[in-house]
Amino acid sequence: MKPGAVISEPGSTVRNRTGGWRVFRPVFDMKRCIDCGNCWIFCPECCVSRSEEGEYSANLDYCKGCGICANECPTEAISMELEEK
């Protein structure tokens, strides 16, 4: 514990899996996707990725379910669905 709560290990925040906060999960419908990249650029957790085939998905370890991606998607390709565990 360094005085002043200094974190000397860069990038250690990835250990904080914010996915645990989620109530709604984004579900991507790739048939509607026009590959605009809005979800990728607007996601505050930077957890949306695009595969080589142009498929978008969210890393659910970090997706906190805020719904910004769904809101920004121009074609309503993303729906927010209630997590049921």
Binding site: M1, P3, G4, A5, V6, I7, S8, P10
Partner: protein
């Protein structure tokens, strides 16, 4: 070299002697001359420092935090509303353990608007994790700024330090001040070299989230650092007095050694009280210099033999009906088993002059209490008689 200096200029000279790297400040009466003198020194090339003009005190402190985190020695000064405006960032400076030094030119808080001296402003920040030193003279202001960097930057401490000096009474008054030679100050105060700092070569994160499972431990670390600061203040002052021939301790006693009435105060008011004590018997003054951390053991020792303690202070804890220091003295009397009556004397608010007659009146009330007569627990000195 002995010079006739305003308190504000004495502080500016201390800042220069300490080779401060970054000064960020916003003007506010009666602090303004301090940063004006410093700005002049930087403009004239006398002090090689970065002078950051900001749009508020909140930003002044924020800039100091950023600069200090990179390992720069930083300084700022403020007063009253400016200190209040810094409030939330004061906690960030102390929580991040940054050794920033600030001079607070004590001034009353609004409303009503008032630019004159009292100590309500710094009293309101007593729990913010800053070391607080109250000075009596311009010489002590200069010396305390130099000491402050040694205390703050010590790796056992790493806490910000606030040097409190009475606005106008000291900032705008001339006194002879011995300005020590630069080489001696350089020997006393080595350059600031923090163990960790913001450095692209070795990246770290400062000011991150502290979740419930860790937050308390960091607060405890600060509390321990405060305990260490108490020893460090004494140690640094002792060394200062060996090198420069002037020392102050954490408190100063003046007057009868075995007096039954002991007065306690902070800051420049001690000057007036000493003059009164000179003409009286069976009374002693304790001028408290270090208020945070509160040197309870030293105060308890200084109150020895007292049957009545009168605390004269320029602040009022509204809703408690007495001065803030008075409450703390009562608390330490309980802890140390001191069986003395502790009376509050609220005085000098908003620049009201505290005259020798007012101090004499306080002593008289204390003597009445010592004789077992009934007295009020709080007396407002020099108050007009007006309908509430």
């Amino acid at each position: 070299m002995r010079e006739m200096l305003h308190g504000s200029k004495a502080v500016a000279k201390a800042v220069k002697l300490c080779d401060v790297d970054v000064v960020a400040a916003y003007p506010i009466t009666p602090q303004t001359p301090i940063v004006e003198y410093i700005a002049q020194m930087v403009a004239d090339g006398e002090l090689r420092a970065e002078y950051i003009m900001v749009e508020s005190e909140h930003t002044a402190m924020s800039a100091c935090i950023g600069a200090s985190a990179t390992g720069a020695r930083t300084f700022t000064a403020t007063s009253s509303q400016g200190l209040a405006y810094m409030h939330e960032v004061l906690w960030i400076a102390s929580g991040m353990r940054l050794p920033i030094v600030m001079v607070n030119a004590n001034r009353a808080l609004s409303a009503p608007i008032n630019i004159w001296n009292d100590q309500s402003d710094s009293m309101a920040e007593r729990d913010s994790g800053w070391v607080q030193i109250y000075v009596e003279t311009n010489q002590e202001a200069l010396d305390s700024v130099i000491q402050a960097y040694r205390i703050a930057e010590d790796r056992e401490v790493l806490l910000p330090v606030m040097v409190c000096m009475d606005g106008f009474v000291l900032t705008h008054t001339m006194e002879p001040v011995d300005v020590p030679p630069k080489e001696e100050v350089d020997r006393f105060l080595p350059p600031f070299e923090p163990e960790v700092k913001l450095d692209p070569e070795e990246p770290v994160t400062m000011g991150a989230l502290g979740e419930p499972q860790w937050y308390m431990e960091f607060r405890k670390q600060q509390d321990v650092a405060m305990e260490r600061a108490l020893h460090k203040v004494k140690e640094v002052d002792a060394e200062f007095s060996r090198v420069f021939g002037r020392g102050y301790g954490v408190l100063e006693e003046y007057g009868d050694d075995d007096a039954e009435v002991v007065l306690l105060t902070l800051g420049s008011l001690a000057g007036t009280i000493k003059d009164v004590v000179d003409g009286q018997e069976n009374v002693r003054l304790v001028r408290l210099r270090l208020f945070r951390p509160l040197p309870e053991e030293d105060i308890a020792e200084a109150l020895r033999g007292a049957s009545v303690v009168g605390v004269l202070e320029k602040d009022i804890a509204l809703g408690l009906g007495e001065g803030a220091l008075c409450t703390e003295v009562k608390k330490l009397c309980y802890d140390y088993g001191i069986d003395a009556r502790v009376l509050s004397f609220v005085c000098g608010l908003g620049g009201r002059d505290v005259r020798m007659e007012d101090v004499e009146h306080a002593i008289q009330v204390c003597r009445q209490a010592a004789r077992g007569e009934k007295v009020n627990r709080t007396t407002w000195l020099g108050l007009r008689e007006v309908a509430p």
